[in-house]
């Protein structure tokens, strides 16, 4: 059995579930495994309907405390389920939720785990997975010592490609309880959106984004001026936010905003996976970077391999000239 742990937030299923199911189908075909899923929630009916034709079996753990994600509850319930059902493989999204319980589950059940994988196959009675290292500069093949094993799967690694395998999955409702004293140890309080400074980069037609290549905070002025010249909005990668040079609502990427402007100009951005996932659907992408092997060039339409501090002033001057004509 391959078990997919369903992720939901604010009462809706996340896209990652269907990516996980796509991988589960691929792996199940290669070894003749059943595909099962587990839904932990306070009102799981609509979630059941959404996945029922893609799995053989659905385990439902219903608890009013599960309306929102709580890692401690997930760990408690999933440990019991996995011990009872003995799936050969457990698939979890490599997301803010998934990483909050998957490694914990692995250590408490003494199971191998490979996190942030982008592909996997059975290799005899082991799992061989592929993942990136050194921020995407290298890839690695990693092997588990045995199965059962846990994998957390990078978002966007599998395009949703699912054919129904049953007309209706067998639904098994589990009545499990967690000690109320344990509940007190980890309590969900609520969600908050990142504070906004009034700029919504997702509405911008033109975005000029900067990354580590900007080197110093004072260099931002140069880019800001250029952005204004072409009617663009300034945005950035995570390191710029971490350094406190720009507010959080300017961040493009998986932990920031996903943008699809008409024009995206990436300056000094190498193109970490997390950034690319937030801007790759832009209509036209121009990237300026010193490193010809920077992954940003794999999504850019036009690339310039050069020092941005040399190109930018010349480009700003050229734009001014064009506007005068």
């Amino acid at each position: 059995m391959i078990l997919v742990v369903i992720e939901h937030q604010h009462g809706a299923l996340k896209d990652i579930n269907f990516e996980l199911l796509t991988l589960a189908h691929k792996l199940a075909r290669s070894r003749n495994e059943e595909v099962a899923t587990v839904i932990l929630g306070s009102n799981p009916v609509s979630f059941i309907d959404a996945v029922t034709s893609f799995v053989n079996k659905i385990f439902v753990i219903e608890d009013s405390n599960l309306e929102n994600f709580n890692n401690y509850l997930y760990i408690n319930y999933l440990s019991k389920l996995i011990t009872e059902q003995k799936p050969n493989l457990i698939l979890i999204g490599h997301t803010g939720q998934g990483i909050d319980f998957a490694p914990y589950l692995a250590s408490s059940l003494n199971l191998p785990i490979i996190t942030d994988i982008f592909d996997a196959e059975f290799s005899d009675d082991k799992i061989l997975a592929r993942r990136t290292m050194y921020g995407g500069k290298l890839n690695a093949k990693v092997l588990t010592s045995a199965i059962p094993a846990i994998l957390t799967v990078r978002q966007g690694s599998f395009e949703k490609n699912l054919s129904p395998i049953t007309s209706q999955a067998h639904v098994e409702r589990l009545t499990l309880t967690v000690d109320s004293c344990e509940l007190e140890k980890s309590k969900f309080l609520g969600y908050t959106e990142a504070p906004s400074t009034g700029i919504d980069i997702t509405k911008a037609d033109v975005i000029v984004a900067v990354g580590r290549g900007i080197k110093e905070e004072k260099n931002l002025a140069l880019v800001e001026e250029f952005a204004q010249e072409i009617g663009g909005t300034l945005a950035c990668t995570r390191p710029i936010i971490d350094a406190g040079w720009l507010p959080k609502d300017r961040q493009v990427g998986s932990s920031g905003k996903t943008v699809k402007p008409k024009l995206y100009i990436a300056l000094g951005i190498s193109g970490a996976f997390q950034h690319i996932s937030g801007m790759k659907s832009s209509e036209l992408i121009i990237a300026v970077n010193k490193d010809p092997e920077a992954p940003i060039f794999s999504v850019a339409h036009y690339g310039v391999v050069a020092d941005l501090f040399k190109v930018l002033p010349a480009l700003a001057a050229k734009i001014k000239e064009l506007k005068k004509r």
Binding site: G96, S107, D116, Y191, S298, G303
Partner: protein, 262 residues
């Protein structure tokens, strides 16, 4: 408050090319400098700020060779009180297995009194993000990953915010002791002062081997292992614009004008 901060020494690969060595299981180390993992530096700063507020003791701990001592001394110079390095020939086989690393840290930390354990959210080399939550699993205490805010409610409870996708934060309350994996950007890591560096040399740095951790070789289970590294296939779809700055600018300006007008 007794705070442990788990640190990792990593190669500085931000602005360098990373090449695979002949074993295919490691990278070429020549000319690489080593540094504290970025997220761990934020975790250390979070511990230092907590100690300044409520008092207590900070222990920094790592699994690694003597090469890591400089990183530990720097943490002591910033204000940590003692350092522990877990080092044994048998440990090196497990360098690609975050669960075993977490197990060793759990074995060491559980020999002491602890209220709070901090790790970085992700290591810049292998990027597993697994040690913090796995450590909590071995110690059977609550945990939170990707923490971007923390505040002590009293000496038994903590309020944290965790980062989810799209900038959404999950707020929760945790009972101590617990493990938090700290995300970059949560604070502004300090530099060590000259006085701090002087003081650091007299602070204790203890090296513990497998025997001192009560770990037998047969207790150590290899959960996962790295088979080989390979280079990603870069499918560059970009049309590269070349020339001098003048020529590049001319072409870019026209592309921009055509797309969005000016």
């Amino acid at each position: 408050m007794e705070i442990f901060v788990c640190l990792k020494l990593v190669p500085n690969t931000q602005d360098t090319e990373v090449r695979i060595d002949s074993s295919k299981r490691d990278i070429l180390k020549v000319r690489l400098s080593y540094t504290i993992n970025e997220a761990d530096d934020y975790a250390l700063e979070a511990a230092l700020q907590l100690k300044e507020k409520v008092g207590g003791q900070i222990t920094v701990i790592t699994v690694g060779e003597a090469q890591a001592d400089e990183m530990l001394r720097m943490a002591l110079a910033k204000g940590a009180d003692q350092a522990i390095r877990l080092s044994d020939e048998v440990f090196t086989n497990f360098r690609y297995d975050p669960l075993t690393i977490a197990y060793l840290l759990a074995k060491a930390i559980s020999q002491y009194k602890y209220d709070l354990i901090l790790t970085g959210a992700i290591a810049s080399d292998d990027g597993y993000s697994a040690v913090g939550p796995a450590l909590a699993g071995f110690l059977k205490i609550p945990s939170a990953a990707y923490v971007t805010y923390l505040e002590l409610i009293d000496n038994q409870r903590l309020k944290v915010s965790r980062e989810l996708e799209g900038g959404l934060l999950e707020n929760k309350e945790l009972a101590l002791p617990c493990v938090l994996s700290i995300q970059t950007g949560i604070n502004k890591p300090r530099y060590a002062s000259i006085l701090g560096i002087k003081r650091a040399s007299s602070k204790p740095l203890t090296v513990l081997n497998a025997g001192q951790l009560n770990v037998n070789q047969k207790d150590l289970k290899m959960f996962i292992d790295l088979v080989e590294m390979y280079y990603p296939e870069i499918v560059s779809k970009a049309q590269i614009i070349s020339g001098n700055e003048e020529e590049i600018s001319e072409k870019l300006a026209l592309i921009i004008k055509e797309k969005v007008g000016l």
